[in-house]
Symmetry: C2
Subunit: 279 residues, 2 copies
Amino acid sequence: MKTYLDCYLCLLRQGLTAVRRAGLDNQDQVTVINSVLQGLQEIEPGMTPPIIATHIHHVIREKTGNPDPYGELKELSTKRALALYPRLKALVEAADDPFETAVRLATAGNIIDFGPADEYDLGESVERMLSQPLAFNDIPALREAIEKAEWLLYLADNAGETVFDRLLIEQIKVPVYYAVKSGPILNDATAEDAIAAGIDKIAQIVDIGCDAMGTILKRCSEEFRQMYEEAEVIIAKGMAHYETLSSKGDRLFFLLQAKCDVVASDAGVPVKSLIVKRG
Amino acid sequence: MKTYLDCYLCLLRQGLTAVRRAGLDNQDQVTVINSVLQGLQEIEPGMTPPIIATHIHHVIREKTGNPDPYGELKELSTKRALALYPRLKALVEAADDPFETAVRLATAGNIIDFGPADEYDLGESVERMLSQPLAFNDIPALREAIEKAEWLLYLADNAGETVFDRLLIEQIKVPVYYAVKSGPILNDATAEDAIAAGIDKIAQIVDIGCDAMGTILKRCSEEFRQMYEEAEVIIAKGMAHYETLSSKGDRLFFLLQAKCDVVASDAGVPVKSLIVKRG
């Protein structure tokens, strides 16, 4: 997805939130925000919003000397999601169609995202996901693709959301490779976050080889790129994957909530829509 | 009032709204937004938000060749307010304290502002203004100051709001000089807008000598500056006057609604508060 002018506002807001969260004093906040403004001026055609957001978070990390301003929030997100896990697991097991319920819950967990907003309502998201029709419902195609595949690549999104991914992975019979960031960026999941959610017990955690948001293939490791090329089915969670990979073919299944006007409009759905869509 | 980092977001949003309203194509929108981003980087200590907003609107005017992108909206705002005028006039005349009711209504009209938001709810604003307590209520001091003065300077804010100012001016017994912008900037009132609201029948319309938002004295004409210096009482309508003049002394009475977080926080009141405050 290209970067729309409305993304500029969101990226600037993310920058402001992040410099405050990182505890910078006012003068340093101005310095960082100025480099965000400069970065926005240098946007070139073809740059997706996660490329710019990644740049912003790298600048903030450099200026603050704080490698992980979202660390505590990530821990808290995982704890909260784990507290819900037994109830959600029971829901899946009691469902007429456990796979569909698990897909819906994995998508519900995508509300845990400190990019488009500073807070989230997890309970509301779960209720909505279980009751609301999907704006795109490629669950049958996803089920069929998984049945035919020997293994599956699962592109993780955020810490805490990982617990919701676990519910879905538990319904998948083939081996799952769960791809995480090599280091902290916003609240994206790293190996540590995946392990805290219990993913290591049910999938093999793999590192994409960079700490950029979404999956910017040219920045990933050779090893990961090869795995990506070979995967028959790829589940891509969240907006950043939609933004970086949406043009990349029918092996991909995007599971996300359209949390901002721009992604919603790009996908042709109302904001807050629930999307399970084949690429 | 200084420019806070939160103002950057609002200024960028205003820029985006304005380039779209001006009907620029996408490439020209990017060009203008880039110069807005550049302008934000060049903010110096002491610059108030209206100085930057003025710069933004001047850039947009230059790039579009459209001297008045808000012209139609201003006309519509005046028409809508004039349609309400007879009912509001009757309210003032039936009130126990017509002066206070007129001050409240003049402040209600301050909701007509395309800076902090793209639309407004005039009916809601009138209801709120008539029923809600004022966060600052210097109406008694304003009444007393007017009674002692030989004449009064009234710094207009926006087109349409002018009709609400008329209700207040009609309650003022001394001559009123109604100061407007020398040319279009956002939806600020010009002489034409003031005349459309019927102000010319009850006050002398004066031109501040520039088309900058608020009152940036050093940009105003020598003639206006002299009038400003000599005025015993000055009614300053709206946020931009609060932002540009808030440190300037007790001749000033600010009548405004705190429509954004930054102004509300600077004034120490909740957002949407109604303010009648001596400088």
